[in-house]
Amino acid sequence: MATARQLLRIARAHVGEQYVFGAKVPKGNPDWQGPWDCAEFTSWCVFQMTDTLFGCRPRAGDPDTADAFTGFWAEDAGGVGEEISIGQAAATPGAFLLRVPEAGATGHVVISAGGGKTIEAHSTKRGVIESTADGRRWHTGVLVPGIDVSVPELPDPPQRPGLVLRVKKPPMRGTIVKDVQRRLEQLGFHPGPRDGTYGAQTAAAVQAFQHAKGLVVDGEVGKRTAAALGVEWFG
């Protein structure tokens, strides 16, 4: 069985490489050096360690053409994998942290290096980086079969992100949404009517803005995207 240390070693060897949103990666190629996207990076690392596809479809297909996606990570987390708490995953080297893709929002998946640290294919601007789990929105932690990890009983959970505008039911509303819509409009993106409701059209404009600025393309507005937009934020 692969160890967390081996997984982290192979992931760290790719820090600094290029990120391209939607990049496809041949999971069977041990010499691949990018470009990556988040799910392709994590699935490639898993395949190098376990010879098994995780978070990919087709699951038993050719590793060089199988498609990795955060939605498949979510399916496999609840199936062949094991879900653990966000705090446990952030504290466990070799676990994974997952933000599930939702309507109007792209997911994200990272490798936990333990102690709240991560290794991830982050964004066009930053590429593959070492970062932290703090202040970011996660849905669950994931353990992948074939990777030996030690989960602490009482972990120190990562800081919650505070206000993150996103598509949800009921829709998020307020003057801060109007502020975001106004800035998007001023910058040449098209958020739809400036109605203070964070809907699919606004999320799509945010994604376009994030893509243009090399940020994480998730369609959500948290502290970093707000700063890039020039919108005053809380916390």
Binding site: S85, I86, L154
Partner: protein
């Protein structure tokens, strides 16, 4: 108007009381979980107090915070499911009640 620092302290105390009998060893863990939510809660409450988000949005966000809070407690074997739910309910009940009266000292 209650001060956020005091509301937060009372919320932790209410949650700890629910865990005291069943998982006395998890009191510090509960405090760590609460601390991970502190800034986030303050920023959500501040956004609401400044009129930047409406009440249904705040309520929905607090419900999400509560789910994550409860999820962290549920992951610990020493904490039974009901105790985790009771502790999360107690913590967020204090926040909800204070919200009705108004909370200051947020950021």
């Amino acid at each position: 108007m209650a001060d956020f620092k005091n509301v937060f302290r009372d919320a932790i105390a209410a949650a700890q009381e629910k865990l005291e009998a069943q998982a006395p060893g998890a009191q510090q863990f509960l405090r760590d979980v609460a601390d991970a939510h502190k800034k986030s809660l303050a920023s959500l409450l501040a956004a609401f107090a400044d009129g930047k988000i409406d009440q249904p949005t705040l309520e929905s966000e607090l419900a999400d915070e509560k789910l994550v809070f409860q999820g962290e407690l549920l992951a610990v074997q020493a904490i039974a499911k009901k105790a985790a739910q009771d502790a999360a309910n107690a913590f967020f009940d204090v926040i909800d009640k204070a919200l009705v009266a108004g909370i200051g000292g947020l950021l």
